[in-house]
Symmetry: C2
Subunit: 344 residues, 2 copies
Amino acid sequence: MTISEIAKLAEVSIGTVDRVLHNRGRVAPETIKKVMAIVDDYGYQPNTYARNLKLSKQYTIGVLLPQLHSEFGYWNLIYEGILKAAKELYPLAVRIDLAQFDRSQQGSLLKEGEALLKRKVDALLLAPVVPDDARLLVGKKHCVDYVFIDSPLPQTNPVSTVVQNPFRGGYLAGRMMHLLNPKGGALLTIQTYRSAYNSKERARGFSQYFADKGQYRSYELEIQANADIGQSLDAFYRVHQDMSGIFVVNDAIHRIADRVLLLGRKSQTTMIGYDLVEPNRKAMLAGSVDCLISQRPEYQGYTAVYQLYRKGLLSQEAEPTICVPIDVILPENLVDEQDWCPKS
Amino acid sequence: MTISEIAKLAEVSIGTVDRVLHNRGRVAPETIKKVMAIVDDYGYQPNTYARNLKLSKQYTIGVLLPQLHSEFGYWNLIYEGILKAAKELYPLAVRIDLAQFDRSQQGSLLKEGEALLKRKVDALLLAPVVPDDARLLVGKKHCVDYVFIDSPLPQTNPVSTVVQNPFRGGYLAGRMMHLLNPKGGALLTIQTYRSAYNSKERARGFSQYFADKGQYRSYELEIQANADIGQSLDAFYRVHQDMSGIFVVNDAIHRIADRVLLLGRKSQTTMIGYDLVEPNRKAMLAGSVDCLISQRPEYQGYTAVYQLYRKGLLSQEAEPTICVPIDVILPENLVDEQDWCPKS
DNA sequence: TATCTATGCGTTTACGTTAACGCACTCTTC
DNA sequence: GAAGAGTGCGTTAACGTAAACGCATAGATA
């Protein structure tokens, strides 16, 4: 079913059909009815190729993330997924425009986001890790379609939100801690200074697991940006001689693991953390980290780009929420570069 | 860079450029050189939208899978992923043509595959679970582009192969068995009658894990199609009073789990199996299955379709092998329909 | 010499959609 | 009652690619 076929059936010109389809006015109500009846009956779907050929527009997605090389590369993994999608979608006229902000600095997200909008992006892909800033940004009148990644932002209206359930992630971490470390003893949950939504929920899920099991003593520690981790840890080990496990709610696990090694405490401590950034991969291969929970950052970035593309260029409905599965990574399913691949 | 721009630069007509680009002959060697120089210099990429509009072809992918409702729905999960991709790619003129074969019947794959080729498909997506048949099919002269899914097929030339490493999957299953069941005791690996590549490798990986650990006694059992599972199991339990775990190399785990329950042996037996088909999900929720390894069947199907689409319609290079990560599923990360989703 | 074939190249049409343009007509308004 | 604004609609020109068609010219065959 093409526009000209509709035109023939309705006994009008294709221009008229086009005006009806795009509500461009200047059509008699009678005619509108006649055309719409046919459109509904036969189920007209515009031809994507013809449409985009004619529009011949670049679809630019503004990407707004924290500094890619902050936090040991987590955001960079997300960006890798974004780039992969962008590469695939290059022939379909999708482009990426990246802006990075400093998440520790109030106002930075908003400033960079506004700059991005001024550069005429067609859509926005952002991590709303500074909620107030993000809310102001997407609340702006001239704001384009947007998707959230990494964390949700209530009371907004995104095309889609790509996240993982942090509570369940923490809960699963609890289960893995229990499995890897059945002897019991004191446990420590470490958060870094930022009081991020995901971090809090993960810590909550972890302690909920042990609350459900009625076992173990669980403690929490909040480490400041430039604190001496080794000293805090050492103090903790001295007070709690039966320390048996540490859960770090983010990708900083390898740093804690290094300290634990230096303190000679690895053998008594099960280490669980988040995300397969490069230093964590190395730490796991070296045996200083026992288990990682992954939120599939590459997948999140990749998927988010595709959601926008489908909405913007294919006019498809996006899924309002995409909940990323929670992956458990043990040394046994750690994929390394030289991983097995079947020869064909 | 468009064809007409090239034509202008080379001072020839667009027809000539077109003939050069498509090696359609009837162009002077001199002219070919001149045009190609410009093409290489400026890096011409055909406009996908214009190209596909002009060709206005439906790209039909023939899908050749075992009966979708055999094996408790594993193949149906794959097909769901395929359908999801097809739905997304509908506006890009991608279509699916499904054929099912009986994997227990030699020649069925080949017969259905040939029928599919006769129906003029542009590409083939198949599970080469009957290797001899599959080899004959893709070896045919008029065979189109194809991708393999679920298992590889050596000595063929697919566009892509989407698989998981079955040995590592089994190895990981071993690790999970060890974690979930630290007491030790006799272990049983169950394969069903078909001597499939994946099944064998998984069993091998599982026993390798325990060989590496130098612990446990591990047995293997092969269950015939219509054998009395209960009786075989009962016999086994009687002989091995310290039975502590069962690993089923495929999605039939829930059936074994049912028998174990009936025999009153669940409390002494850790159950690990494969794939999140519906009966397995229920069994896990009910507590009769402790751990599942997933090979992400939906993802496999979804990805395979996209590989063909990118090759066929976008002329992009496909990845020769896509190795699907090995997922561990415990009750704690089992996602159910009413799973948490952030409100936006 | 007339006819045929091969070669090199330009021209043209079509794919389906979008949107600018223009024509004919009907109301207003001074 | 003439100029201006508004309405309904058809026509047409792109967008970039693919491929059929046609037109010269040159050499080969009858």
